[in-house]
């Protein structure tokens, strides 16, 4: 009881902080210095129509690298915590087979979803979406396979390969920016091209493809481990 009162008191306290915060908020009427700079120069400097992509991949590319490493670390941790050794696997477990419809849908949908995912991150510099969204879509495709066939054995070496190669490529392209252009992750190692076309914004789409592949591989990995891990130890 005392604890409940304390919690209420604390919530009231946090509420007070938020109330003050809310009071201090004023709907912005103009862009901040930073945002204005991006709006004015983003297209010119980076060559991307989608300014969010320009920021995520180039201006604040380092954040994205960190973010990719978070997923990477998470996948690594989950896999070393949950991965069962093959011999411990419960062979006798009866798995309900998925319905026919799901199976058929999977066969048709999976390639389509993967294509959509790839489309999303290839066009990340032009339209909404990009590496993360595309990667998530690809992971959903993998997920679908699991739903249809719970016994499906995710080929970890392929996923690991994609994950590693795209990760290394991300870093290498970034380092190329350091050598050939203004700094780490500078996209101007390639020409900026014509604004609004697929082959524009320098290395931005390339980086975004790697991000997409990497995120897709990492998310698939996480989903895969969580899906595959057999009955937990009793």
């Amino acid at each position: 009881m005392l604890k409940k009162i304390l919690i209420l008191f604390l919530l009231a306290g946090v509420g007070l902080i938020f109330f003050d915060l809310f009071q201090s908020y004023q709907s912005a009427s103009e862009l901040t210095t930073t945002a204005k700079y991006y709006a004015d120069n983003g297209a010119k400097e980076v060559g991307a129509a989608n300014l969010v992509s320009a920021i995520v991949v180039t201006y604040r590319g380092l954040d994205t690298l960190g973010e990719v490493s978070i997923l990477f670390v998470t996948a690594a941790i989950i896999s070393f915590v949950l991965k069962h050794k093959p011999e411990e696997e419960d062979k006798n477990r009866v798995i309900k087979p998925a319905s026919e419809i799901l199976n058929t849908a999977t066969v048709f949908l999976t390639p389509v979803m993967i294509m959509v995912g790839i489309y999303i991150f290839i066009n990340g510099h032009l339209t909404p979406g990009g590496g993360f969204q595309g990667g998530a879509v690809i992971a959903s495709a993998v997920l679908l396979i699991f739903l249809a066939n719970p016994k499906f054995h995710l080929n970890h070496s392929i996923i690991a390969f994609v994950e590693s190669i795209s990760g290394v490529a991300f870093v290498v392209v970034g380092a190329l920016g350091l050598i050939m252009a203004g700094g780490f992750l500078d996209n101007r190692i390639l020409g900026l091209g014509e604004f609004g076309t697929l082959f524009s914004a320098g290395a931005l789409p390339i980086i975004y493809i790697f991000i997409g592949l990497k995120v897709g591989a990492e998310l698939s990995n996480i989903v895969g481990i969580l899906a595959q891990e057999q009955n937990i130890k009793n």
Partner: protein, 117 residues
């Protein structure tokens, strides 16, 4: 509109905090945490909102001296990062919950008090 969304976001954060502090089921604490995260993301995007601003996707190269009428892209970029991090943290927490459950066969938060003092 943005004020209402801001309130929604802040309220979700508070709900999340309430859940984290009050609920005994550790699985549901992770759910509360997801709410907390969603609330924060909503607040962040709201801050970047500009009345009558368009989405920060340009259809043409802006001409010199005119600033396109877009909303602030920076918070959006930050929230992208934040969402992905949130997923990582949730997945990790769930893994922990799984292992904790495996160990104690319970989801009650009070059964995980092996470390104290």
């Amino acid at each position: 509109m943005e004020y209402i969304i801001l309130i929604t976001g802040l309220a979700l954060i508070l709900m999340g905090l309430y859940g984290i502090m009050y609920i005994k089921n550790i699985f549901r604490i992770v759910i509360a945490f997801a709410l907390f995260d969603t609330g924060i993301n909503i607040v962040m995007v709201t801050i970047g909102y500009l009345r009558n601003g368009m989405a920060p996707i340009l259809d043409k190269m802006p001409t010199e001296g005119t600033t396109p009428a877009i909303v602030d892209p920076v918070p959006q970029a930050l929230v992208l990062t934040s969402i992905v991090i949130g997923l990582g943290v949730s997945a990790l927490m769930l893994t922990y919950v799984l292992k904790l459950y495996e160990d104690k066969k319970s989801l009650d938060i009070n059964s995980f008090k092996d470390l104290k003092w």
